[in-house]
Amino acid sequence: MGQVLVEDKEIVAPGQVIATGMDCIPGKGTYRDNEEIIASTLSIMTVDGNVFKGIPMNGRYVPQEGDRVIGRVKDILMSGWKIDLNSAYDAMLPLKNASFDYIERGSDLTKYFALEDYLSVKITGVTSQKLVDITAKGKGLRKLDEGRIIKVNPQKVPRLIGTRGSMISIIKKALDCNIFIGQNGYAWIRGEPEDEVKAIKAIRKIEREAHTAGLTERISEMLEA
């Protein structure tokens, strides 16, 4: 029977021994070296039964099918728009996925999305070579006018949003702001100027303290002040 050498939710660094024993299973963020399970990323280690998984503290976004993200138009081509996803991988938005209107090839595409526009889109497919297909047709998907775009840590997005949106709702309600956080680490905020500043402060606090307990209360307190 093996030994577990870290506590649940402990932060571990590459090369650190997590556990020993052949019945331990190395999940994401770990690897096996003979009897030992070793951390391979700077991460929060969780144990689920005998599966060890590290949730990374940092890391650039890697596109995944099904993700809702915010993209930035970096180029306009005949076939559609080239979109920056805050990742090593750009996405192509083809004409047919841009709008419920029929867009004729050769027409003025800037009517829909111009250079430097930000839009919320959904990732519909990612190939092994990381070619990314996206769509802007769908509920809630649109060009993001007005407001501020900031970068957030993509690995903290789940914490920022919260279970079923619980965390982000607290901020939206308290400050009367529209906020959309893309899985890819772009976030859009719109509200009164002072409320936007407060919202961003709250977001930065969540990023910093994501790995701690009692965060929801602290954020609520901060927003009440």
Partner: protein, 235 residues
């Protein structure tokens, strides 16, 4: 008469301070200071790689660059820009780190590591590798292990760890200087250079001696990476 000008014991390194998350706009970063030598490293990536012909469809590539800031030399100003010495150190630094990183999740991309020396007093390439290794971990890159690096040298027939600037120039013939980087778990060597004259046996003894220091440095690196997340709940 003490062997070392600053009174250190043969296997004693200078004082080390290590800190991660020091460059806000980078994807990962770290500062590694040993004695009066300080290296700052920042990682950008994985990101798009240009030109296209450098792209590897099987995995991302690692690209390190080492540079001394103009005021960091122990003598006159270091002219900014290209230098053959920096090119070589950049290259061996990349080779020192490549064996531990796993970039298979990022085909066709590049992970850039920029290392800048803010002040130097010997051991700058080792400090750079230490900082770079931490910065890569800080950026969330998948790595087998940390990569610590330090020099072992010879003063008056005694093997010593971590030569400082004064020691480097003590001998009228160059003080033998061996920078080493290692993967702690396997004790495999990823950086090895030598300037100076040593015997075969001294070399082997030096390699044994330096391992303990390298393990200690790796522990310091991991501690520093974690430290940035401790005590965050203050305000």
């Amino acid at each position: 008469m003490t062997l070392r000008p600053d009174g250190r014991k043969p296997h004693e390194t200078r004082e080390i301070t290590a800190e991660a998350g020091v460059i806000k706009q980078a994807d990962g970063s770290a500062k590694f200071k040993i004695g009066n030598t300080e290296a700052v490293a920042a990682v950008y990536g994985p990101q798009e790689l240009h030109p296209r012909h450098l792209q590897n469809p099987k995995k991302g590539i690692l690209r390190c660059s080492y540079n001394m800031l103009p005021f960091s030399g122990d003598g006159s100003r270091v002219r900014p820009g290209f230098s053959r010495r920096s090119e070589e150190i950049s290259h061996v630094t990349t080779k020192a780190l490549e064996p531990v990183v796993d970039l298979t999740e990022y085909p066709n991309s590049v992970v850039d590591v920029f290392i800048e020396l803010t002040q130097t007093d010997a051991g700058s390439r080792c400090a750079g590798i230490c900082a770079a290794s931490m910065a890569l971990a800080d950026a969330g890159i998948t790595m087998k292990d940390m990569v610590p690096a330090i020099s072992v040298g010879k003063l008056n027939d005694t093997l010593v760890i971590d030569l400082d600037g004064e020691e480097e120039h003590l001998d009228e013939n160059e003080t033998p200087d061996i920078p080493v980087a290692m993967i702690p778990r396997s004790e495999e060597i990823t950086l090895l250079q030598l300037d100076g004259i040593v015997t075969q046996q001294e070399l082997l003894d030096g390699m044994s001696l330096v391992k303990e220091s390298l393990h200690e440095i790796a522990d310091l690196q991991r501690k520093a990476l974690k430290k940035q997340y401790e005590g965050v709940v203050q305000e």
